[in-house]
């Protein structure tokens, strides 16, 4: 998966349950990734949100559906 072009600084990537209600939107893991860098996470089947944000307030959100028993998803952060 490739991020949309946007943030210019290293970003924090947040993986959470895909819930509209704040109190249900559990954050499962997060990691800081340099722009151009990649990370890999392992998830159980379900619906998740992948959010990236940087110090300047640049932000994007992507929703993903995981079907396999344990999925490995790689995301590459694209430069602005």
């Amino acid at each position: 998966m490739t991020s949309p072009k946007g943030c210019s600084k290293s970003a924090m990537i947040w993986i959470a349950l895909d819930k509209d209600d704040y109190k249900d939107r559990l954050l499962l893991m997060h990691t800081e990734v340099p722009i151009g860098g990649s990370f890999q996470f392992y998830l159980k089947p379900g619906q998740y949100q992948v959010r990236a944000s940087d110090e300047n307030g640049c932000e994007f959100l992507q929703k993903i559906k995981v079907k396999d028993l344990v999925s490995t998803i790689q995301i590459k952060m694209v430069k602005k």
Partner: protein
């Protein structure tokens, strides 16, 4: 000979006095140091909201501490924590969390893999004499490993390959990383739960930082540790710390580094939160620590050309 005998006797007494007996708790306080106690004694605190309150008197910020995170924000949070608070109710927890029963910890049902010990954010730093040097770092366990996240991604042989850059950074696939990072689940039966200490939340973080400093972790590693765990260690009043070092971690998660003249110093602090004062009269799922963790800590005397330093904090979750 007399002087030598005196020195040996002193060392023996020091070592013996650092350990506690069965039926005691090995506790630590920044001002008073180590002590062997049977139960923590909290000072009386007239709290309005006593959830996690461990200060003498409620200051203005503490009065708001019980409000949802999206309404109240502590001062001097790092930028990512201020942002995270707006989106996630459990930003100040290390992951999905459960407070049910007597054993608060990670809510493991949300995570794949197996292993009761959720090792969160082991970060690996490098201090090298080389401005540029190729390396590979492999997790060599024969069993299937329960990784949760890795940055950058591992290859099909559970390996990071790249270069050490400018003495203290990694380059993988032409991108510079301040550290290598992974989350993983590990089996509890390979860990040690006899050496360690118990302390308040604040003292717990101070002790871990001091422990890393004594093992000569670089400044960036200490800075990252403090910034991250000040936010992510949940607001329980007390913790017991069970440090896992090379001896334990090399057995459960062996690694191989392809670079000559290298050394890897590993530290993973398993934290058990306590909602109230730890008391030896109350049965515990994990016994209170009574032995000195310095006995299992690696000795860091020799400086190698390439010093890899790994720190992490872990919580239990079943």
């Amino acid at each position: 000979m007399k002087i030598l005998f005196s020195i040996l006797a002193f060392l023996l007494v020091s070592h013996v006095s650092a350990n506690c007996k069965n039926g005691q708790i090995r506790a630590w306080d920044k001002e008073k140091g180590y002590a062997c106690i049977q139960r923590f004694q909290s000072e009386f605190v007239d709290c309005v909201t006593c959830e996690g309150c461990n200060e003498k008197a409620p200051a203005f910020e503490k009065l708001l501490a019980g409000f949802p995170a999206a309404v109240y924000q502590q001062k001097s949070l790092p930028w990512w924590a201020q942002q995270g608070n707006f989106h996630y109710p459990n930003l100040h927890y290390p992951g999905a969390w459960t407070n049910k029963g007597n054993n608060p910890g990670i809510d493991a049902k949300f995570y794949p893999g197996k292993g009761e010990v959720h090792a969160l954010k082991p970060n690996i730093y490098i201090e090298s004499i080389h401005r540029e040097k190729k390396f590979s770092f492999s997790f060599t366990a024969k069993e299937e490993l329960s990784f949760l996240v890795t940055t950058p991604p591992l290859d099909e042989k559970n390996t990071w390959k790249g270069k050490i850059i400018n003495n203290d950074r990694f380059e993988v696939d032409d991108i510079h990383y301040d550290y290598l990072f992974y989350d993983i689940r590990l089996p509890k039966d390979k860990m040690q739960f006899s050496h360690g200490l118990c302390a308040t939340r604040e003292a717990t973080i101070k002790w871990m930082l001091q422990d890393l400093k004594e093992m000569k972790y670089p400044a960036i590693a200490l800075q990252d540790f403090e910034e991250h765990w000040n936010v992510k260690i949940p607001d329980f009043p007390f913790y017991c710390i069970y440090p896992q070092y090379n001896q334990q971690l090399d057995a459960v998660l062996p690694v191989s580094i392809s670079l000559e003249q290298s050394n890897l110093n590993r530290s993973l602090y398993v934290l058990i939160p306590h909602k109230k004062e730890p008391d030896v009269d109350e049965p515990q799922a994990i016994p209170f620590p009574i032995l000195d963790s310095a006995d299992v800590r690696p000795v860091v005397l020799i400086k190698y050309e390439n010093m890899f330093k790994e720190w992490g904090v872990a919580f239990l979750g079943e």
